[in-house]
Symmetry: C2
Subunit: 352 residues, 2 copies
Amino acid sequence: MARARVKVGLGDIAREVDLSKTTVSYALRGKQDQVNLAPETVEKIHEAAKRLGYRPNYWARALVSKKTKSVGVLFNDLTGSSAHEITKGIQDVLGLHDYETMLAVSFWQEDKFRKELKLMLEKRVDGIIAAPQPNCEDSYKLAADEGVPVVFISDYPPSNVMPSVALDPEDAVYKLLNHLHQLGHRDIGLLSVAYNSPVLLERERAFECGLEKLGLECKSNWIYRAELANEISVYENVRNLIRQQHRPSALVCVSDPVAMQTLGELARLEVAVPEDLAVAGIGNVDGSDHPFFSLTTVDECRVELGREAARILIRQQESSDDTDNYGPQNVRVKGPLITRASTVGAGLRPKR
Amino acid sequence: MARARVKVGLGDIAREVDLSKTTVSYALRGKQDQVNLAPETVEKIHEAAKRLGYRPNYWARALVSKKTKSVGVLFNDLTGSSAHEITKGIQDVLGLHDYETMLAVSFWQEDKFRKELKLMLEKRVDGIIAAPQPNCEDSYKLAADEGVPVVFISDYPPSNVMPSVALDPEDAVYKLLNHLHQLGHRDIGLLSVAYNSPVLLERERAFECGLEKLGLECKSNWIYRAELANEISVYENVRNLIRQQHRPSALVCVSDPVAMQTLGELARLEVAVPEDLAVAGIGNVDGSDHPFFSLTTVDECRVELGREAARILIRQQESSDDTDNYGPQNVRVKGPLITRASTVGAGLRPKR
DNA sequence: CTGTTAGCGCTTTCAC
DNA sequence: GTGAAAGCGCTAACAG
């Protein structure tokens, strides 16, 4: 029952079958063709390994072969389905190339982020995919300096000097704007958040461009800016909007969470959505589609984001040139518009 | 800029400061007191290490010291905030003891589960905390056989032979029942799912016991059982319930997701909640508190679950006796009742 | 077809 | 106060 209480190594099984460690090593790794082992030998070795309960030692292996075929993935949190989908995408691609994934979370703590990143470097990962953590640029640099490529996902740090993968902001905002335009909206406002996120900032900029492209006016007092992660601030901005004499007929929110909070406050104010105010978000996050709460949005394609991030790393690995051609290799994926009740429905009632 | 392109090891820095690898090793690990190093020596070594960009090699370290101070954590998925909270709890406790965490996801695939678990064993983790994956009992056994303790979290496999940590089912169900009873409900139904989950089964059993304790009748045709992960099946069961002549005035759902689907369907059927039917769930998952959708439930205390799981492992590690006293060491944490609109509100309207 | 020989980068007695 | 030497468990030339 309690077998293998005592660690069994290559040597033990070599002794068992009266062969050398080398032969055993090859056999166990299926490299028999590379050195031409007798099939029966291989068979015998496998049998013994199983019988003795042999378990290869990852560390020893990595140490000598000086490679791990692994990439570190560092999230800020594990809430929502974001990490799930991104990880899925990453592993889709990495699996094809026989790479393995090392997951970690920073819980939005700078020191935790640094610690986890350091650990990954100590574990000699071949690359890192990370959600940017504010004020940790030094950490990213550290990795790069040690020759470990970093790819950012979903967003990227202000100094846009490393590869990143994110939803295409122009495309997303334009799709929303165009959708609202086609519904007849001419007076469109924006609810953004005051936060130093390049991706959010780009969406803000894209809003103005988009309006212009559609020949619509961009009133500066229709651009609202709430504090990040502060529901109250969103509520206040929504109330301000509603109180305005001449107010927009549609509101684009810079992200789904903001849009959902907006919807909540509008309900409390008994403002009919979309009749009195159409609302749209960006992201298609968990909960944006809901019997009581269905939000028009642009899908962030997080699985695809993960895939692209992994592809960048793989490409960099394959062409293991020392030509150091890092540099902004940025992928922007175009997400589909998802029209739902908050712009197109018969009010915010349970969907059919 | 691109420093440390060439790997620098203990030897390099030893040469730099003209000392031995040994001394350098001690200094860098802060074990100076254990061997009494000259403070200036230590200083010099640290300086050199920083200058050369030294990065310790995790594997070499693990290989020689034959320990990793790490535990593997294996989730079925990363959706919702479950994994987040559990991981938080685990790291709370593990951090105190200088253990590190290796995260992995199975995406509910058996082979993925087995693969990740195997990888953890190869990496020589000191213990494993896992959400049970159906049909993988062999894998858990494997770990145990190799002397790596496994602790289950949130649920546990049918053969309850390893430690596990979960919400106390009796307590949770009774709190719900008692709450409903106090609200005047006497006719209470149960909506369960047909799934081989011990924890869910226990909740089902607890329902009958609970009713009895309250002196209420348990009508067998008020116990509904939907198929797992099949919204349609939930909807059908809800419709059946509503169609019944004499039907319950309150419904306990075996989990929050089921309760939320129920709420959705009830809205579609224009059944007023809680007036026509009060609804409660268990778990307090992400989305159960919502402007349009607020569910009475019992909190699963996932952070605490994580902490308890980690504590079990730590205890087992500290008392590193070979006395093999595994065996059902099960922790059941009692979660608080959270009363919300679905039992106590003025109908399912935006909350105040 | 299989074995010998060197290490990988680090820790840890034990001796100076 | 510091260092030499012996590996940890495994892989990868290079021989036979």
